[in-house]
Amino acid sequence: MGRRRKTAGEGDLIAGTLDMLILRTLQAGPAHGLFIAQSIERRSDDVLLVEQGSLYPALHRLEERGWIAAYWGTSESNRRARFYRLTPRGRKQLRAEASRWESLVQAVGRVMRPAE
């Protein structure tokens, strides 16, 4: 048996960051997959280029954990699309991950600061 493929996006994004980014995007309101992907790209000034398909395993995982909920709806162009919204637990999780990320960034920043 072949070994299981690694989660896509792990190579591009720091592990676990994608989940946080999705949660952050949904903080503004419900959105479908394409919107989430484009929003991450746009807000990162196209630095974080997400392979769009890799969103879906992540969305599935977040849904299983109860951090987001999904429903079928209609897009701006009147197409059927699956929308995701943040659950109260997801909101809490986002806060926790944001602060963890903040301290991580600061820690890395301190290490990378030129020696005095």
Partner: protein, 865 residues
């Protein structure tokens, strides 16, 4: 969570969602001015591999381990079906071992863990007198009336009742019909305490339960159906018990029938004199609501302080005693505990050996499968996956063996119940229920892990390259790989030897018991329970002698106290006593050593006499001739006129000089003529014991039915109880020992068989894997006998080492069965030596048979192949 149905649905939904994503993106790109083809291509590129994402999600929704396990399971079944002989051997071995265990466990479950059929049985207890003394702790169940009154009046925590512990057979007459039934005497409130009252009518009132109270009786459901046809108008009916009129006041429910053999209850009427003057009653109590056992124990202790002093137990050599409550559940299970534990241990050993055997089989097969496993490992299968796969195979074997084992257990259990017959009545209730199946399931799991782990771990240490290059069948001597197999077989030989030693000791115990000099001639004499006339019996054609006595050899006799006349002893000495008619010694064939037997001249008017046995003389009159001495017994001075040989009796619990503990003992006995026994004595003892009629025929077998016929002629209304040959009586007295010996023997036989199979397997395996090596050796000029001997020696060495370990194991194990042995030392060298010798002979045969295959080897042919 694993939800295959919703999984499929979700998969479709994901697919739909991703397609919608692509469509939306294409639309957006087209709107930005791309051509449809460009938009389509770009959308695909930016999205990535849709199928891969679906698979990824799918992988997340299922439990990877479970998935792998179901794959392993299918593979295991395929593999096992490819080797039907191995599979069948393993499954059958396991089925037998698990079957034996399940059967024994269901017995243990019934006997040890199933409570009596009363409501809240855990609140019931017997009151016991715990007497501590130099001889250790003695727990007495029987009490006198003074003790009973103290418990009744001073222990408010217990709702207590008193009853006579034994039952006695009596004649029940209804109208013109007669039946032989078992009677028990119980106090008022007895059924209330147990929690199961009469279904019709009422139980005895305190007013009825006094000396001289009205003659009332309660019937069992069984006898009500059988003798009265379930007549609803039973209350107030007149019946006769032992010839005296009684009035029926109640009928017990059918559920009570299973508690015992009693068919008629009458009031106990306890008084401080007579039987109530000494410890003849048992006390049962139910803990009151909201009261703790500690409280009841404390009250009992306080109540006992006053009364035990009057009981005489404290007079003896500084003994100290107190009353206590012993849970009924524990007391009832006593006596069964040791045999069941013994059987359980023995069948555990068999299970262990079976597991070891299968492990050895798997190990041997593992060597044959090394190529397959190496291939799988070379193809990227991890070690853990290999171990898991092999463990699943073991589990499949275990489950198949377990399922078949339950069938074996059902057959085995009915077989055991058949063998046990009436010796262990509780066994009859044993059944294979849910709890038993649960334990079987546990056994299967443990066994599977046990026999699967070692070979699986060994297989995982395989080095693929070497195994593949090796070609499988070119093993040579000295491989380290063979050691686990040998160690397993060594272990099973050790276990088998230990079990065989225990069996050997049990066999010797039984042989010793059966070899006991009965002290009389059992051949041909018949005893029966009857109220007949000796004259009628003796007038029967073919009857040489007939006698009646209180109880008989190989039963328990009455304890009675006597003292030598003129001796200034404070208290009497306890001996066994029996009254006998003339011709008693002649009928049973008990030899008269000195003086004379009791004969027809000993009547109510002649001088009071007794006859004693050799055990009596040895214990109490060793220093001077017993004949001519006078003993005070039952209120009269009686002269010892004869000394007879000893007979074996069941232990009645008295201590005397020269006593040898055991199930059967030559007790010191005083025989007095039935014609000289005072009526008060007869009345008292007949509430406990039965007169036994015995007949010695002219020729063997001539008197079948003789007693019944004679009695029918005298009085057709007197029923005859069981008639049985004295020889059958003897075998019943040793039935418990024979049962244990048989059961443990069967298990030991199975253990030895399995161990020998294992031994055979080790040698056969060595021969088959080293065929090439042997061929080369033979081709190079090695002699056939030396080669064969060398291989067989391996088996023998394992057997010898295992036997040695087995002996060490036995030295420890016999300590556990000490209580079941009699008249044979736990370390009896003869038993050990013969077991080891037997084992080595069998082991030699088991090793030689496969080794001899080398002799038929054709070196040239083998090497060419």
């Amino acid at each position: 969570m694993w939800r295959p149905l919703s999984r499929r649905r979700r998969e479709r939904e994901r697919d739909e969602e991703m397609r919608a994503h692509l469509a939306l993106y294409e639309e957006e790109l087209t709107a930005r001015g791309r051509s449809p083809e460009e938009a389509r291509r770009e959308a695909r590129v930016r999205f990535g591999n849709r199928r891969a994402r679906l698979e990824e999600i799918d992988a997340m929704t299922r439990l990877p381990l479970l998935d792998a396990l179901s794959r392993d399971l299918r593979y295991a079944i395929r593999v096992l079906r490819r080797t039907p002989v191995f599979t069948a051997t393993a499954v059958l071995t396991l089925a037998l071992a698990i079957g034996a265990n399940t059967a024994v466990f269901s017995l243990a479950d019934t006997v040890l863990f199933t409570p009596p059929p009363y409501p809240e049985p855990e609140r019931l207890a017997f009151v016991v007198a715990r007497v501590e003394g130099p001889g250790g702790l003695d727990e007495q169940l029987s009490h006198d009336t003074v003790t009973w009154e103290a418990v009744r009046d001073q222990v408010p925590s217990l709702d207590a009742a008193v009853y006579f512990g034994g039952v006695s057979g009596v004649n029940l007459n209804v109208g013109d019909r007669a039946a032989f039934v078992e009677q028990q005497r119980v106090s008022a409130g007895y059924f209330r305490v147990l929690g199961l009252g009469p279904a019709i009518g009422r139980e005895f009132t305190p007013a009825e339960d006094v000396p001289g109270g009205p003659a009332v009786a309660i019937l069992s459901h069984r006898v009500w159906q059988r003798e009265f046809g379930g007549d609803a108008a039973i209350l107030g009916r007149a019946i006769r018990l032992r010839g005296e009129p009684y009035e029926v006041v109640g009928v017990m429910p059918a559920a009570f029938d299973e508690t015992g053999e009693v068919d008629v209850w009458t009031p106990l009427r306890p008084s401080r004199s007579g039987e109530g003057g000494s410890a003849n009653f048992q006390i049962v109590g139910r803990l009151g609501p909201g009261v703790s056992w500690d409280q009841a124990q404390e009250e009992l202790r306080r109540a006992g302080a006053g009364v035990l002093r009057n009981r005489g137990v404290l007079e003896e050599e500084g003994r100290f005693g107190h009353l206590a409550a012993a849970p009924m559940v524990d007391v009832l299970a006593e006596g069964n505990r040791e045999p069941i534990a013994m059987l359980g241990a023995a069948s555990m050993v068999v299970l262990l050996i079976a597991a070891v055997n299968i492990a050895a089989l798997l190990l041997g097969r593992g060597a044959g499968r090394s190529k397959e496993i190496a291939t799988r490992m070379a193809l990227g299968c991890g070690k853990r996956a290999v171990v898991r796969q092999l463990m699943v195979e073991s589990l499949v074997l275990g489950l198949a063996g377990g399922a078949l084992g339950v069938l074996v257990a059902r057959v085995g259990l009915s077989g055991l119940q058949h063998v046990a017959g009436t010796t262990f009545e509780l066994w009859a209730d044993a059944a294979i229920d849910g709890r038993v199946l649960l334990v079987t399931g546990g056994l299967v799991l443990v066994t599977s892990v046990l026999f699967g782990l070692v070979p699986a771990l060994q297989a995982s240490r395989l080095q693929p390259q070497r195994a593949l290059a090796d070609g499988g069948a070119r093993g040579v001597a000295g491989g380290r790989r063979r050691w686990p197999g040998r160690a397993l077989v060594l272990a099973e030989v050790a276990l088998g030897v230990a079990l065989l030693v225990v069996t050997g000791l049990l066999v010797r115990t039984f042989v010793n018991l059966r070899g006991l000099e009965p002290g009389f001639d059992p051949a041909g004499s018949v005893r029966g329970l009857a109220n007949g006339s000796l004259q009628e019996l003796r007038a029967m054609p073919g009857v040489r002698a007939a006698a009646v006595s209180l109880q008989a050899p190989y039963t328990r006799l009455l304890n009675w106290s006597y003292r030598f006349a003129g001796e200034d002893a404070e208290r009497g000495t306890m001996v066994n006593a029996s009254y006998v008619s003339d011709q008693f010694f002649q009928t049973y064939g008990i030899p008269v050593h000195r003086g004379r037997a009791i004969d027809a001249t000993d009547g109510p008017q002649s001088a009071p006499v007794v006859v004693v046995n050799e055990a009596f003389v040895r214990a109490f009159s060793a220093d001077r001739p017993a004949i001519g001495r006078r003993v005070q017994l039952s209120g009269a001075d009686r002269e010892i006129v004869g000394v007879v040989g000893n007979v074996q009796q069941l232990d009645s619990g008295i201590s005397f000089e020269g006593r040898v503990d055991g199930p059967l003992i030559a007790m010191p006995i005083v025989y007095l003529p039935v014609s000289q026994a005072p009526a008060s004595l007869l009345n008292a003892v007949h509430t406990w014991f039965r007169p036994v009629w015995a007949v010695r025929p002219q020729a063997t077998g001539a008197t079948a039915g003789a007693i019944a016929q004679a009695i029918a002629r005298v009085d057709p209304m007197l029923p005859v109880g069981a008639e049985e040959a004295v020889a059958a009586m003897i075998s019943r007295a040793t039935a418990g020992e024979r049962l244990m010996m048989t059961l443990v023997g069967v298990l030991a036989g199975a253990a030895v068989l399995l161990a020998v199979i294992g031994l055979h397997g080790v040698v056969a395996h060595a021969v088959s894997t080293r065929t090439r090596e042997f061929a080369i050796r033979l081709a190079l000029g090695a002699s056939v006998p030396a080669t064969v001997g060398g291989v067989a020696a391996t088996g023998l060495a394992v057997a010898a080492a295992g036997a040695g370990m087995g002996v060490l194991l036995s030295l420890w194990a016999v300590g556990l069965v000490r209580g079941l042995l009699w008249s044979v030392g736990e370390y009896d060298p003869a038993t050990y030596a013969s077991v080891v010798a037997l084992f080595l002979v069998v082991a030699a045969a088991a090793s030689a048979i496969p080794a001899l295959r080398i002799a038929r080897l054709d070196p040239a042919k083998t090497l060419r192949n």
